[in-house]
């Protein structure tokens, strides 16, 4: 018994494969999916999506969107998704610094703050996933 994992962004299909386990960044924290999981629909945060097949684990950086689990099928509709080797580390690093600067500034209204926090989360997810590729 296995899970069918499908990951698409608005512009392309990123992953479509059989896996044994998926761990995804839900809006309320990471959740794991094994075969036989109950039907489940959640919004996604920014983070690291990992999927395991046998002993092999692969990682992707995802940000925003939805995950649907139903009948042993995991469908992820992400706003953005990148393979580790696609990530531009320098750009992510710059984004992280920028977001941190904004967060440490004082005169922030709630919207800007939320936006900077989301940008920081995306940057951290990218950095984390890309260091998986290096390590």
């Amino acid at each position: 018994m296995a899970l069918q994992l499908e990951l698409a962004t608005p512009t392309r299909l990123v992953v479509s494969e059989e896996v044994d386990e998926v761990v995804a960044p839900g809006i309320e924290g990471y959740f794991g999916v094994w075969p036989g999981h109950a039907a489940f629909l959640t919004t996604l945060g920014a983070g690291e999506l990992s999927s395991r097949r046998g002993q092999q684990v692969r990682y992707l950086a995802v940000a925003g969107g939805f995950a649907e689990v139903r009948n042993d099928k995991v469908v992820i509709l992400a706003d953005a998704a990148e393979q580790p080797e696609e990530i531009d580390r320098e750009r992510a690093e710059r984004a992280r610094q920028r977001a941190e600067q904004r967060l440490s500034g004082r005169s922030q209204d709630a919207v800007d703050f939320a936006r900077a926090a989301a940008a920081l989360a995306r940057a951290l997810a990218r950095l984390q996933v890309s260091s998986r590729a290096a390590g």
């Binding site: 698409a8 392309r12 919004t43 509709l77």
Partner: protein
Amino acid sequence: MATLRDIRRRIRSVQSTQKITRAMKLVAAAKLRRAQERILSARPYATKMTELLGNLAADAGPEAHPLLEQRAGPRRHIVIITSDKGLAGAFNSNILRRSLEFIRESIATELTLVVVGRKARDFYRRRQWRIKKEMIGFWDRLAYSHACELADAFMEQYQAGEVDEVHLIYNEFRSVAVQRAVRQQILPIARAAALPAEGQPAPSADYLYEPSLAAILDGLLPRHIRTQVYRALMESLAGEYGARMTAMEAATRNAKEMIEILTIQYNKARQEKIMKELLDIVGGAEALRQGAG
């Protein structure tokens, strides 16, 4: 009667036009291929999004989200999508005609226009229409973000209660040679399009929602709209290249025919000229012979 030199000049001019149309055809063909690939690679997301909405049908009533709410208000918002450049046959004029028809039909209602592409902008500006928003000069680097910009603007107005309906008018890509001007109501989300009609046994997936159905619809519906706008933009772009390719192919063929006709004319004129010279010589020789004899 055109002189030989005139005809030669015309042939040369038609030949250089033909060179240009042939080059434009090749460029359009290459761009068309890329545009088609993009449509294909965007399809999985859109299909899955529609499936997901279908699965939510059982749980989501029309009052579940403002974007699903059917308002019978008179204020229409029309998004007209054309290209920036011409030389694409009837590609833009079909859209403009279609949009004028639709505007005429909605005569009693209050209209606001959004124009995408230089052709639509110029057309409605000349007619002194008030244009709410225009998007121009982005076609060469069309990205999902353009669709978001467009969709978010009208969704905001819709949710603020400034408009009651939003329609898209764009060219649908049927095949390389065929584009069809279509109108699509995009807001409020038609129940039939997004979710199966009430009363029908909607497949209840019995989801666990995290954080809640409302929050998920809040994220899902705007993305659904953006995806549809993105698709409309990509179809229009592919259609533009298809139309230009067809138009330039026809132009190249016409140029070829014209060159053939002109070449025949040229040869005829040349023959006549030789004949006349020959007659002159023969006539002169005859006169000399008679004079001598």
